[in-house]
């Protein structure tokens, strides 16, 4: 197996995988059928990394898993390619609106195990798809999914993810999207679960007017570690990109955001924007932010902003003085803080799932 990345790599300076390396993972055990979210949508269900046909609905554009050689040097993607056994391949033909699909991963087992799903999603010209991914589980496991996305001219893909893994689990997701002219990649990840997690998204804008939206929220407590890493590569003129990432940290949790906007020489009229904000709710919490701009074209508008701070005591006082209990007041303020990142999620069922997970979070702490 390819070696795990270490903190010596610049891209991994804030996320230490030694806790993962110290665990011996075995192959996934057979899975019992768990309780699954009740959402009225066509679905594909993976249990312990294997497609459970009896729990999945037929989806016209889904194909069987195919192993594909990995041609990058990304350590996690290489590990995934070496071991991937299953995953979903979606091909949406040109002009087709494939609606909304639910992709569930559930994991549970007695001994630590690892599974490496590999998904490929291709949208033809003008095709449309909304994919809601939910990852849940119990016990110690390592979920290492890689998702490759190819969007043709004018395609629209809304990709909404809820990472609500077991608090003992490791979740390291790699998502790579190539976005052609006038196509839209609209990404949102909510990170709530896992002991240690990283969502790494690379979006390459290859045609004029391609749009990437990479939003995320991280809600972390206890000793959780969450890492949200993005690279948006503008390789064509006139592409907008938007990133809004909000982190809320309690206990001694540690949040990481690394975001890079790259603007190629040819990518004139780029409009890149990135905002990263974090709330520290307790004295032991830590947030590390590294927003990067790498710009080689002159007629561009790129900016990033980052703030880290505590909940505003005055706002809290205002709500409490109106008779709202402290916990509820905090919940409200946290929700208000996150709203900006959530805004682009418009699919009602996705929104309901996310809101439920977010609103219940503080009360559970």
């Amino acid at each position: 197996m390819t070696a795990l990345p270490t903190k010596k790599l610049e891209a991994w300076r804030y996320t230490d995988l030694r806790p993962l390396a110290s665990i011996e993972f075995s192959a996934p055990p057979p899975a019992a059928i768990p309780a699954l979210p009740e959402i009225d949508l066509p679905r594909l269900v993976f249990l312990n990394g294997v497609l459970a046909k009896e729990l999945s609905s037929p989806f016209a554009y889904a194909r069987n898993f195919q192993a594909i050689a990995e041609d990058t040097a990304q350590p996690l993607a290489l590990i995934n390619a070496e071991t991937a056994q299953d995953g979903v391949t979606l091909n949406i033909p040109a002009g087709v609106d494939a609606g909304t699909l639910l992709l569930i991963s559930h994991a549970s087992g007695d001994a630590p195990f690892a599974f490496h799903l590999r998904h490929r999603i291709t949208l033809g010209e003008g095709a449309q798809l909304t994919l809601i991914e939910i990852a849940k589980g119990e016990g110690v496991y390592w979920h290492d999914p890689v998702t490759d996305i190819e969007l043709a001219q004018g395609a629209k893909f809304a990709h909404i993810r809820l990472q609500d893994e077991s608090r003992e689990a490791f979740h390291l997701a790699t998502i790579r999207a190539r976005v052609a002219g006038a196509a839209v990649y609209d990404h949102f990840t909510a990170t709530i679960g896992a002991r240690l997690s990283r969502t790494e998204i690379g979006a390459v804008l290859t045609g004029t007017g391609a749009l990437a939206h990479l939003n995320g929220v991280q809600l972390l407590a206890g000793t959780q570690h969450g890492d949200f890493t993005t690279v948006v590569a503008h390789k064509a003129p006139g592409c907008p990109s938007r990133q809004t990432v909000k982190s809320v940290l309690a206990g001694t949790a540690r949040g990481v955001f690394q975001g890079r906007i790259e603007v190629d020489r040819v990518a004139q009229q780029t409009d890149g924007f990135q905002l990263s904000q974090a709330l520290l709710l307790s004295p032991g919490a830590e947030m590390d932010i590294k927003p990067e701009l790498e710009i080689f074209a002159d007629d561009v508008k790129c900016s990033h902003g980052a703030t880290i701070g505590a909940l505003d005591a005055e706002q809290l006082f205002y709500l409490r003085s109106r008779g709202i209990p402290e916990d509820q007041a905090r919940s409200m303020l946290i929700r208000a803080f996150l709203e900006e990142a959530l805004e682009p999620v418009t699919q009602p069922q996705a929104r309901a799932v996310l809101e439920e997970a977010i609103d219940g979070w503080w009360v559970k702490q």
Binding site: L280, P283, D298, T307, I308
Partner: protein
């Protein structure tokens, strides 16, 4: 503006590109323990300093040249450099004894050394290559109790101070270039402001690199004791050279309770020609320690020169309520590369830091802001504000921003903003419609872009810096 006009402007010669014919006394090329012993012996240093140098050399041998910065250059052959060079005459006692060639050089650079010095109210400790050759206003300063002298002299006359503070902010093992400097540093300035003293004038040093193939290894140490304050100016221009010259300086600042140090730099070393040939390699370690309560260290820099700039003036905010500031303009043109920024390390309670960085890239240059704001768990009530703006002129250059923000204290407040843009057509049109030439208009807009930084400079520096920005941009505008 037409292409031919641009061409003509781009080919303008570096204004300060002249060399002075002065006999140089140089040691053999290369670096080994013997060279270090020779440097130390030549300067009649005490044994403790020699041992310190040797320790640094041993550390340097084990270290590796850092390559994390966005900089590209051919490998530096450290054995092909001279590590000591000095004008071949004995140290002069007064201006009359100073080599007239040298004085002419200073004059061309506009250094206020004699009457002009008096008019400008500036004390100059001018370093010509490695040995300080003239120091003025010593009397006024010594009346106030201020020590301002070459560091080699301070080693002889104030060994207790040098020994206590040298290497206390930048330890010999801090980084590759600091270790090298510690081993071979030639000379530099030493400043000590005693308790409660406000330095009666702005202190200034002009550095010049003159000997062919001579690395310059300046060492500056400034200590402001309790409630003392000082403003220190550092500025430089260098003659035209074909071969790259290495410069690895170390500057250490120490501020005790309620002390204030303001350190301003205008760096205009030879940047190389339009094809990127030649130019100074500038690998500098500058760091200030706010050791005392409510102390303050402020760095202001205008970096227009050097082929390569690797420089991160930093503040360690140890004392409760201490303040760190970093104001920077970095302008790169042609094939220049700059990787510069700051580190603000918040350790004490209620410490505040402000970072304002303006990067301008033109031609084929690359300009990177790299900075760290670190709030430790103990730094309750810490506050940071950072603003990094980049301006791109032309489509062959690069502007990069790499900030690191690490916050471990929930009561701290950190804000960071960065933007990248080009000069807006409407701004240009506005200026042009009022009769300004394209070149003047760009100069004006760039100066406006940098205003937040330039206003932090002492008066005489501010004037020079504004001219410098316009001159450095010449030929880049289309």
């Amino acid at each position: 503006m037409s292409t031919t006009e641009m061409q003509a402007l781009a080919e303008q010669k570096y204004k300060y590109g002249f060399t002075t014919e002065i006999e140089m006394e140089a040691f053999p090329r290369g670096l080994n323990e013997d060279i270090i012993r020779m440097i130390s012996a030549k300067k009649e240093e005490p044994d403790w300093l020699l041992q310190w140098r040797l320790k640094a050399y041993a550390a340097w041998l084990e270290m590796e040249e850092p390559h994390w910065a966005k900089l590209h250059h051919p490998p530096i052959d450290y054995q092909d450099l001279y590590y000591y060079a000095a004008p071949a005459k004995a140290q002069p006692k007064s201006l009359d004894e100073v080599d007239p060639e040298l004085l002419k050089t200073y004059e061309k650079l506009g250094i206020p050394l004699n009457e002009r010095a008096a008019l400008a109210g500036v004390a100059v400790d001018a370093v010509f290559d490695s040995v300080s050759v003239a120091t003025t206003f010593r009397e006024t300063l010594s009346k106030a109790g201020v020590i301002f002298c070459p560091i080699s002299e301070a080693v002889r006359e104030h060994p207790e101070l040098v020994r206590e503070y040298l290497g206390s902010v930048v330890p010999v093992r801090d980084n590759y270039f600091a270790a090298l400097n510690s081993a071979v540093f030639s000379d530099g300035s030493f400043v000590y402001i005693p308790k409660g003293v406000r330095c009666p004038m702005e202190l200034s040093t002009y550095f010049r690199i003159n000997a062919k193939n001579t690395g310059q290894f300046e060492r500056t140490l400034i200590i402001a004791d309790e409630a003392a304050s000082v403003s220190y100016l550092e500025g430089c221009t260098a003659p035209m050279r074909d071969e790259n010259q290495l410069h690895a300086a170390v500057v250490e600042l120490v501020a005790m309770d309620e002390a204030k140090i303001k350190y301003s730099t205008v760096q205009n070393w030879y940047p190389g020609d339009a094809e990127g040939k030649g130019g100074i390699y500038n690998f500098v370690t500058k760091r200030g320690a706010c050791r005392g309560r409510n102390s303050k260290i402020s760095w202001t820099q205008v970096e227009t020169g050097s082929a390569i700039t690797w420089k991160y003036p930093s503040c360690i905010l140890q004392g409760d309520g201490s303040v760190g500031e970093f104001y920077s303009v970095a302008l790169t043109n042609n094939y220049q590369q700059a990787d510069t920024g700051t580190k603000m390390i918040h350790l004490g309670k209620n410490t505040t830091s402000t970072i304002i960085s303006k990067g301008i890239s033109a031609g084929h240059s690359n300009n990177t802001y790299r900075g760290l704001v670190k709030i430790s768990a103990a730094a309750s009530g810490a506050r940071n504000f950072t603003q990094c703006d980049s301006l791109l002129i032309g489509d062959q250059c690069g502007a990069h921003t790499v900030p690191y923000i690490e916050n471990r204290n929930m009561s701290a407040k950190v804000e960071h903003e960065a933007t990248t843009s080009k000069i807006a057509e409407d701004q240009l049109f506005y200026c042009r419609s009022r009769g300004l030439s394209q070149e003047d208009a760009v100069g004006l807009i760039v100066n406006g872009f940098c205003k937040d930084v330039l206003k932090e400079l002492p008066m005489e520096f501010a004037v020079e810096a504004q001219k410098l920005l316009s001159v450095s941009l010449e030929g880049s505008v289309g």
